[in-house]
Subunit: 406 residues, 2 copies
Amino acid sequence: MNLDALYSELTLKTKSKLVLIVLDGLGDIATREQNFLTPLEAAATPHLDKLARESAQGRMIPVAPGISPGSGPGHLGLFGYDPLEFQVGRGVIEALGLGVELKPGDVAARANFATLNDSGIVTDRRAGRIPTETCQKLCAMLAAKIKKLGDTDVIIQAGKEHRFVVVFRGRGLEGPLTDADPNREGFPIPAVHPRDEANAGQKKMAALIAEFYAAALPILAREKPANGFLMRGIAHQPHIPLFEKRYQLRPACLAVYPMYKGLAQLVGMKKIEAQTIQEQFERYLREYDNFDFFFIHYKYTDKSGEDGDFVGKMKAIEYFDAALPIFLRKKPDVLVITGDHSTPCAIKGHSWHPQPVLLHSAFCGSDKLDRFTETGANIGSLGIFESKFIIRLMQANARMFDKFGA
Amino acid sequence: MNLDALYSELTLKTKSKLVLIVLDGLGDIATREQNFLTPLEAAATPHLDKLARESAQGRMIPVAPGISPGSGPGHLGLFGYDPLEFQVGRGVIEALGLGVELKPGDVAARANFATLNDSGIVTDRRAGRIPTETCQKLCAMLAAKIKKLGDTDVIIQAGKEHRFVVVFRGRGLEGPLTDADPNREGFPIPAVHPRDEANAGQKKMAALIAEFYAAALPILAREKPANGFLMRGIAHQPHIPLFEKRYQLRPACLAVYPMYKGLAQLVGMKKIEAQTIQEQFERYLREYDNFDFFFIHYKYTDKSGEDGDFVGKMKAIEYFDAALPIFLRKKPDVLVITGDHSTPCAIKGHSWHPQPVLLHSAFCGSDKLDRFTETGANIGSLGIFESKFIIRLMQANARMFDKFGA
């Protein structure tokens, strides 16, 4: 029997409030250099400590053993969608990250400005990493002249340095396509092809990319060094069952960064704007009655991890902990605090190490742990499990599941 | 999405060195009789202890909960091949154990010398457990007269006591077949049949077995008590994807016993000869640059476990630990020390208890454990997981996987 179907069948609507707080990249590893402590272990976290005493802990495998996820699969897993089943194209993720609001059926591509020689050979795949302002100027030039291709709307959004995204919004478009990128210098830009030659939407999309190149290259012809561009990860927004329907919960997203708002939006969460963790918590308090599920995203743990900044990550955790009392003024029925993956300072990037998770509810039981840490989580009652099940444990703790069988 | 396909897709070639050290049957259970200590806990292991401090630990389920594996499934799991998907026939395992080098397509059978009465009824399935020397003499007699059956080569290799193996090497042969063994005394030797009647290779093979009996029984007719024989586990060497291609690692095997060399050879590892653990470690040092992955097998923990010899197993572990500094002269990027299964002294045989595993690398994190033991491994950050994933965790620690998704 399909497990998601079983969960759906057993789901009861309740009045419970569920909150998922994601400290991005929270998990870390203990190394000799840091006295065998992780940032979470080194941080002073009086409010988390107090919660820990009456919580269950465990560790979560974001995708599969040894796999380091990007933010897309990391968050889809937390939202209860198997990241292997629901894959989001890189173009889509990039577009979401730049704040482009995608609609169902949109096809998005990551693009780089590049340098071509007179014969159309790519001589620099990043156009010398032009400044962001130049990128914005060039994107504005393209956007002014290419608004539509046939009946398809074209949306062009500048990113950092040489990066931008192009979104195609029209009827019957599909991805994925092969890349318009030779992946190394010294070769021309290859034509794109459908990944599945029999797919009509992909064929239409491949023709549109050719049209886009035909329209855009002349506009850039006299630019130096960015007289060309490459396109990759051309794919449509995948069909993802709506969160509200899947879990019988009205969901809201309280995130600061566009990428996470975008991911939440992919599953149909309502965006609530706020700029700081304090504001996010305040907005949660105000919106408490209007939603059943709140996804609250905190970015700064991941940022420090990516920089290899142990003290920074520790302070980001302490800063979060200090703000927590605002949130706790209205304790939800079920609270989960975790990461979307680990971002160990020693690795300076996302990793495969299972992230720690804390679950607090009236029915979670106490693991008799005095703190929320990776080492404590190793021996918690939740064990080590796949991220995609955390939402089911939250629902269970919210008494949202009927008994299975008599 | 198929997980192995995903791992392949994400695999990056690196210059990392990975080493898997298998202390056969390492895992054990703590009992009152032994003061609630396992051999690993009772042993003095200063060098393992030192490693433990900067390692991650966990326990591995060789096949599935409650399943006690033979050496075949035990090792295939460690090599990253699902033992339920990749099943190796007992004839093949037995042949490998006796040092027969199998080629793709070979069909192997386990055989027993047996006693038949004048009507061809089996009166002793083991021919009174004839001495090994008698078995060798009889096998030599058979081998001298039966070298070929049609275009098929026949290889006969004596084992211990009444046991031997027969390997058929020819074109278009396949297993598995039913056994030529009534499984009890008082019945004649049944004719073999294809397991799948529609399979031409199995049909050809069944006919060959009948031919083999017709040729071999007259040769033995005057022998006492071994005037007959039974054949079981008649199967071909399964197709197993090559290790090197699957993991992008050039693999070498440093094992003393034929069985383990044979299993390593099944997945395409290169054999390096050595007779003691010290020699194995020395050869590792010398071959360090020539391979990326070393499988080092140590048998004596299992042997003592099978004998129920607690002190012997403890000493085997201490002996291994004392040799470890030779190995550590060149620490690889990723080191795993574990068993292929547990062989508890109290059970005197292979068991289902998850074996402890220690993983050491620059990125494994410390579990803050001072020793490598079953009890410590229970609370390690690796958790309890299926053996087949250990190779993936090794690859992750070697930074061999690209990030999944953006």
